[in-house]
Structures are given as C-alpha cells and as structure tokens.
Amino acid sequence: MRQYFTRFGSLERYEKGGVEVINDDPKNYVFSNIFEVASKSKPYEKVAVGKNLEYVIEAIRAEGTSEWRAPGHDEFALVMDGEVEIRLMKLDNPSVVPPGTQGSIALKGTPAGRKMGVVRTRRGHMTLLPVGAAYQFHANRPGVVLLQTIAGNGTIERWGDICQK
C-alpha cells in the first residue's frame, strides 16, 4: 500500500496559502497563519486569528511560564506546535472571576486554591480549561497554543498586521 506523508506546520516551518481574488476583496477572508502570528508574538500574547461576534480563537506563543488566568466559562487549549505543560488549580474563591466574565482574567501571582493536576501536552493535544479553575502554561522551548474562547481581557486584535490585504 502507498505510504502517505501528512504535513503539519510549526513555528520553524510553515508555508502559507492565500486568497486569489476573482471578484472580491481579500480582506473578506481575514486570512492569516497561526505559526506566522505566533512567530511574531511576545510570549503568551493572546492574538485573535478568528472572530465570530463575541467568540474568538487566539494564537498564543507558549514560551517560558505564563501568568495564572481564570476563565468565565470553559476554554479549550489545542497545542499546534511544541510541548506545553498545563497546570490547573481549583480556586478557593471562584468569585475572583466576576459573574458573566467573557474570556479569562489574569490573576496576581499564584492564586489560592487546590492543585488539580498537570497535563503535559504535545502537538495535537486538546485540554479542557474548566470554569472554576485557574490555569498556567509552561513551555521550555517556544510552542503554539490555539485557544477556543470568548473575546475578553487580554485578547489582542491586530488584523491589519496579520491578515492578507
């Protein structure tokens, strides 16, 4: 049987496609590349690469140790490149996240709570970041996380810099 080769992208090696217009404006397609965005980001910047009203997907460059953050709802972290350790903490005081919070809020230092556990993830691994918990990312070498969430505190929108025009 024929052996197929599956191509994935990485920070070190990605190739972009693009929009070829026949009768249109390329900006309608909001076309970007997650690896390109993360290759130009500072560690743990939450750069929106997709937006559908309040919902976003954020490309996050994982490098070193992030701040602790706590979401107002479930979020999902998909590792696109590298190895990322995800640390989870059950908050002693969940009301540090105001009711109705969209996205997540940054916490000062290490929050008070009980350690829930650790998930060591590599490319393709998706981790639930549950509501009621705080999370911290750690990566020894640069990696990329795609975060499914709602636009909120810390979400960066710089479409003009990242998208095909």
């Binding site: 024929r2 052996q3 197929y4 080769f5 599956t6 191509r7 992208g9 990605y14 190739e15 972009k16 496609g17 693009g18 929009v19 070829e20 217009v21 026949i22 009768n23 249109d24 390329p26 309608n28 397609y29 909001v30 076309f31 970007s32 590349n33 690896f35 690469v49 997709g50 937006k51 559908n52 009203l53 919902y55 997907i57 709802h73 479930d74 979020e75 999902f76 998909l78 696109m80 059950k90 009980r114 350690k115 829930m116 556990g117 650790v118 998930v119 060591r120 993830t121 590599r122 393709g124 691994h125 998706m126 981790t127 639930l128 795609l146 499914q148 969430t149 709602i150 479409w159 998208c163």
Partner: protein, 328 residues
C-alpha cells in the same frame, strides 16, 4: 398535494432498474443505473447518482446544516431550522433569469423522512456515500442490496469535549476506528494527564489529531468541543466536498494538516468570487454571503469553527450584521 400533508413515501413497485421513485410536494425523484432524475413543475435535471447520494447523505446527517446545501449548481436545500426549502435553479442566475427556478418549503421531519427513504433505497451494498472514492465501491448499476450501516452512522456531537467523562469517546482500534491509510504517520501519543486525587473528572485532555486520523468518513464536520455557541467541528477531507455549502452566517476554517483548495462563489447567483488555498496553520473566514466547495488532493484535517447562535441567520439576512466577520 400540499406541502403539509404526508405523502406516500415512494412508489411501492420498483422501476426496471430495481429502484423506487419518490415525490415530495411537486418534486419527483427517480434513479436508474447512472443518474438521479429530479423533476419540478417548470423543469427537470439530472445528476450522477454517486454525487447525488453523497450530497443527500450529508444533507440528512447534518439535519440540513447551516444555510444552503447545494447538491450542484441547480438542486439543493435551504435550512430555516424547523422548515426546509427544497429548490431547483433558485441560486442559479441563469435559471432565475429564464424563470425556471422553483422552491417549495417543507416541515423538516417530512423532507427528512423522504430523503432518508430515498437514500436507503438508492444506496447499494457496494457504496458508502461518506467514504472517499478510493475507499468505497460503485454506486452505479441496477439495485444491489442496502448499506444501512454506512448511511446511519452515529453523529458525533460532544456536549463539552471529546474524552470528557460521560461525553463522546475517543477513537481506537478496539471501538472500530483504525487509523486511516492517509494518516498512518500521525503520532498516536495521548497527553500525559496527571490529576490530583479527586480531580480525575476535571483534568481532561485528548489527542485531537490522533482522533481525526481515525475518522472513517470524509467531509463530515462533527462537534468535539463546546464553548457556549462556539463549536469546534473538525473533519477529515479527501477528494471533493460533495455539496456546495452556502453560508447563512460566517464560518471559519483552520487548516490542521495538508492542503485544501476552495472555490468561492456568490451565494445567490453562483458567480465566481475567489479561490482560497489553505496550508497547515492557515486560518480563513468564509463570509456569510458566499458558497464554497473544497478540494483535498490528499486526506487532510480541517477544523471547521461554527457559531451556532440561532439568531444569526435573521440578523445577517436583515442586514443587522455584516457578512464578513472583521473590519480592518
């Protein structure tokens, strides 16, 4: 017959090729060895029966999906979430101009029932409408058995996340999902999950790429993670999307592996608008006023990202929301 009475589900007696004929309102459907024939009061049309069954299968499995499911440039359905338009030539500028277009609206359970009966009767034992052409036999020829197992697959709809307690399970060899021939090189390692005692149900992760490498179907978005109305609906793609999907809201694509080419047309007329080529890591929006068809030279992984908010189609059609998601 009006649209709201229950019709006979199909002819009792099969035709000379062994297939039953079906009617729905003023539409009539028949098949022979190679083609599906569609008739409406102002015209008629035919499609290769393999293409027709692949489109029909997805329309049924997705509950008529978001917006328009064009079987080709002439025939298709438009979902009003409770009722469904069945149309001929309605989104084809030339049929419209000639006055040959026709639309009839049906309650969803009625059209669903007729479509399911037609798919069941017209799908032979040798043909799997969800499989890639390289992985299934022929749809053609005289009536030759059924393939109920293939056409009634479980539709994956995670409530929180695949692999979470009580939710959709991961795929593995021993639950019937071997790694697909196109993905034998995809790593199957699972994340190293180390919950503290008492948190086993809340510390959850899974390998999405391994999960997708074990998908036995093509062009079938299904929900793996849910953030309110934000749904990740990844799918594995090979050959051609069997429908031309017309959006009633913005939809987003994240290319996870390999490459897909999209042809993008105006949703109303079919006029060409753009070609979009997507490679690993590429992200693109499909605006709410287009229709698109994808071409995947090799089996690939596509993350389709949907906003399932029920109020979106009305807001967009009334012009209260823009058809593109971001202004910059």
């Amino acid at each position: 017959m009006t649209a709201h009475t229950l019709p006979e589900i199909g002819t009792i007696e099969p035709n000379q090729h062994g297939y039953r004929s079906f009617s729905l309102g003023k539409f009539a459907f028949a098949r022979d060895e190679y083609f599906a024939y569609i008739q409406w009061p102002k015209g008629h049309h035919l499609m290769p029966v393999d293409a027709f069954l692949r489109a029909l299968q997805r329309d049924i499995a997705w509950g008529f999906f978001y917006g328009t499911v064009n079987f080709d440039a002439v025939i298709g359905t438009l979902n009003h979430y409770g009722t469904v338009d069945l149309f001929a030539g309605r989104y084809n500028a030339h049929y419209r101009k000639a006055g040959l277009d026709y639309v009839e609206t049906f309650k969803t359970p009625l059209i669903q029932r007729v479509f399911e009966a037609m798919l069941d009767d017209w799908t032979n034992a040798t043909f799997d409408p969800f499989a890639s052409p390289a992985e299934t036999g022929s749809a053609f020829g005289p009536k030759n058995g059924h393939n109920k197992e293939a056409i009634t697959r479980h539709r994956v709809t995670a409530r929180r996340m695949v692999g979470a307690p009580g939710d959709e399970p991961r795929r593995a060899d021993d639950n019937g999902f071997p790694v697909n021939r196109g993905f034998v090189d995809v790593p199957q390692d699972e994340p190293d999950v180390k919950p503290e005692p008492g948190f086993e149900d809340e510390v959850v992760a899974f390998n999405l790429l391994a999960y997708l490498s074990r998908s036995d179907v093509t062009w079938n978005p299904s929900v793996v993670s849910v953030c309110k109305n934000s749904l990740y609906c990844p799918t594995t793609e090979e050959y051609i999307l069997p429908i031309i999907h017309g959006n009633d809201r913005v939809e987003w694509f994240v290319q996870l592996s390999d490459e897909i080419h999209w042809e993008v047309e105006d949703r109303e007329t079919g006029a060409a608008r753009a070609r979009v080529t997507m490679k690993p890591g590429d992200v693109a929006a499909m605006p709410a006023d287009i229709r698109h068809r994808g071409f995947a030279p090799k089996r690939s992984m596509l993350l389709v990202w949907e906003n399932a908010s029920p109020e979106l189609p009305a807001l967009i059609s009334q012009g209260k929301l823009p058809t593109n998601p971001v202004q910059f």
